[in-house]
């Protein structure tokens, strides 16, 4: 009997399969943050329930923390937004009351929840990981089954350390070939979503396979798995291999010594068996990809940077044509415009998609010795306090600030614009984040998703550009 990576991880977490009810799945790691947890803690309190496993629960603050104005090392200072301050205070109080470890402002481990889990070595192959955040799919890069949940489910996990889940289907996204020079994991995943469509992965867990996936670093794999949800899949997974094990070894919460060797035996057994079938499969040729830029208001609406804004009539269905027309109106773009002719106001480098050290290195390499185009606002928001510190250790902060970028403290920042880092109405961004929905980065703001390298080159050029254009 052959089994897929997804089946193997799923099966080892089924606690019970009551007749007529979805199976009960055990959760190995529950990540929480300030925005989707307060109502869950309130529900626990009202029912007089406790947190079952504080030792498997980790909290941080990321969604609405300021990225400027507080001391970047101590986190000291006044949070100007009273609502954000209240949410952050609630999280502190809830964690203290229930004995949950909190990496809050001022902690070296504070940061975007999907950056700190892997960074600490808490995300490991074969685990189940959930969080009240749709980009929890990021952790699937380690061969974990990781998915976003709503606040009622957060409460359920806090109380029971389990979730009721109907087993999804397994989809294979097989990427063969080699990514061309200048193409990154971000361009790859935007290409995948373009092929899949924003709802194409609904009801499925994706396993990313093939030579191009195996060639990615762990940080690149996280970028790919992160955006699984933008193709409608709750989770994306990649079989753990030597790249995974090398990343994990020596991290604070990774097994050590003999325990690491025992864990390796287990992790190596997780890969999909030869001959296993998937419920669906799509195949992508990596060598045909180019740096991607979204032109519309869904992450599936992207083209190559060498291309032009497409004609709505070229869309496959009437609904897609209507959506494309509406997107062009919102984005204030005309079909046929060369992508490189589109000028931008703001550059955002950061987020759980592209806020890790390799992302900052890739951007710094492009801007080193150059200047941000006059009139363009450019910010770099490291994904965690540790990423920020590591980048500073390499001098990347100086590269950015000397080029005219703002160097901020860690958080979600302009990815979703909860903390005041937003676009003004009508402003246009090149953003390394994951969603270009209408108003995502601020009411009336226009978002184009790109890789860190393209974001950096665009900052210098003032319009969309690849590093080789400079």
């Amino acid at each position: 009997m052959t089994a897929r990576l997804f089946d193997k991880v799923w099966d080892r977490h089924v606690v019970a399969s009551p007749d007529g009810e979805p199976p009960l799945l055990y959760i190995d790691l529950h990540l929480i943050h300030e925005v989707t947890s307060p109502q869950a803690f309130e529900g626990l309190a009202l029912a007089g329930r406790r947190v079952r496993r504080p030792d498997l629960t980790l909290a941080t603050m990321d969604h609405d923390v300021p990225t400027t104005g507080l001391d970047p090392v101590t986190g000291d200072g006044v949070i100007a937004d009273p609502l954000a301050a209240e949410q952050i205070a609630r999280l502190r109080a809830n964690c203290a009351q229930h004995g949950i470890t909190l990496h809050g402002l001022g902690s070296r481990q504070q940061g975007i929840v999907h950056v700190i889990g892997p960074q600490l070595g808490l995300t490991q192959p074969g685990m189940t990981v959930v969080c009240g955040d749709s980009h929890t799919s990021t952790h699937g890069a380690f061969g974990a089954l990781a998915f976003g949940i709503g606040t009622t489910e957060v409460e359920h996990v806090l109380a029971t350390q389990t979730l009721r889940q109907v087993k999804p289907q397994a989809m294979a996204v097989t990427v063969e070939g080699e990514l061309p020079a200048g193409c990154t994991a971000k361009d790859l995943v935007l290409g995948i979503i373009r092929a899949l469509g924003v709802g194409g992965g609904a009801g499925s867990v994706i396993e990313y396979r093939g030579a191009a996936i195996r060639a990615l670093t762990m940080e690149g794999r996280m970028t790919v798995c992160n955006m699984s949800i933008e193709g409608g899949a709750r989770a994306g997974m990649i079989a753990p291999d030597d790249t995974t094990f090398a990343y994990l070894e020596g991290r604070p919460h990774a097994p050590k010594g003999a325990a690491f060797e025992r864990a390796l035996d287990d992790w190596r057994s997780l890969a999909t068996d030869d001959g296993a079938q998937f419920d669906k499969e799509i195949r992508i040729d990596a060598s045909a990809l180019r740096p991607a830029v979204t032109w519309g208001t869904t992450p599936a609406q992207s083209v190559s940077i060498d291309d032009v804004v497409p004609e709505p009539d070229s869309a496959a269905t009437p609904a897609a044509r209507q959506a494309a027309q509406r997107a062009l109106t919102y984005m204030d773009l005309k079909p046929g415009t060369a992508i490189r002719d589109i000028a931008v106001d703001t550059i955002f480098i950061g987020s759980c998609t592209n806020g890790r050290l390799e992302d900052l290195r890739a951007a710094a390499e492009v801007i080193r010795g150059r200047k941000v185009h006059p009139g363009v606002r450019a910010l770099v928001v490291p994904g965690s306090a540790l990423v920020r510190a590591q980048a500073e250790g390499e001098g990347l902060d100086r590269d950015f600030t000397q080029a005219g970028f703002e160097w901020r403290s860690a958080g979600c920042s302009m990815c979703l614009g909860m903390n005041g880092d937003i676009l003004a109405p009508g402003e246009r961004s090149a953003s390394t984040s994951n969603r270009n929905f209408e108003g995502r980065q601020g009411p009336g703001g226009r978002t184009h998703l790109v890789s860190p390298a393209v974001a950096a080159a665009t900052a210098v050029a003032g319009h969309f550009a690849a590093p080789t254009d400079l």
């Binding site: 109907v166 919460h253 209507q322 979703l416 108003g439």
Partner: protein, 201 residues
């Protein structure tokens, strides 16, 4: 949460596919620490357009929202469900739903009624012809009807239907399996990490 057998009231049509949760409730609203008070933020940006369906007379009395495929895509924010409910909606009818949104809806007692593409089109035509028609969602029968003109079946998993009908507390149901959860915990592999303290040899 109380049980919900039927939803009866006016219907509103938002004829778009891929309605994302950032449209349903913008992130600026997520700073609230309560489950209530989100109604004013529902479709906040789109409501600035006087022609938007929620700005038409009687829309504030609507109980059923009809929309396009992949409704509720994007963020996991359950606040999207709370905003729809706070406004007055008790059901959303669409050809498909994003997975997390569907789960959140069932958790909070909002009916996610998945109809066929053709069924959605027929319901839309009927509502366009008679905007004041009574829309009835029968959770037990899994049907949605507009006036006496059109009745369409909808998909809803048995367990989800049962939870909606009974208004069940899922945590209470799960805690009936306390012994199994405890037994499972006793046999978890030793190499799995704990948040407190770093891993040992």
């Amino acid at each position: 949460m109380s049980g919900l057998r039927q939803v009866i009231g006016r219907g509103v049509v938002i004829q778009r596919s891929d309605v994302d949760t950032d449209q349903i409730i913008p992130a600026a609203w997520l700073k609230r620490v309560e489950r209530t008070g989100f109604g004013a933020g529902l479709f906040e940006a789109w409501r600035a357009d006087p022609e938007f369906p929620l700005n038409r007379p009687g829309a504030d009395q609507a109980r059923v929202l009809l929309s396009g495929s992949n409704f509720g895509c994007g963020s996991s924010r359950e606040h999207a469900v709370w905003a729809l409910q706070d406004y007055g909606f008790q059901a959303v009818v669409a050809p498909s739903f994003a997975d997390i949104f569907r789960g959140n809806a069932i958790s909070s007692g909002l009916v996610p009624a998945q109809v066929s593409e053709d069924g959605a089109a027929r319901l839309g035509v009927a509502l366009a012809a008679a905007p004041d028609a009574e829309v009835v969602i029968d959770v037990a029968a899994r049907t949605v009807s507009v006036g006496s003109e059109v009745t369409e079946p909808f998909e809803l998993a048995d367990y989800a239907q049962w939870r909606l009908l009974e208004g069940l507390d899922d945590i209470g149901l799960t805690l009936r399996h306390e012994d199994e959860i405890a037994a499972f915990e006793r046999q978890r592999p030793a190499h799995l990490p704990s948040v407190t303290g770093s891993a040992s040899d």
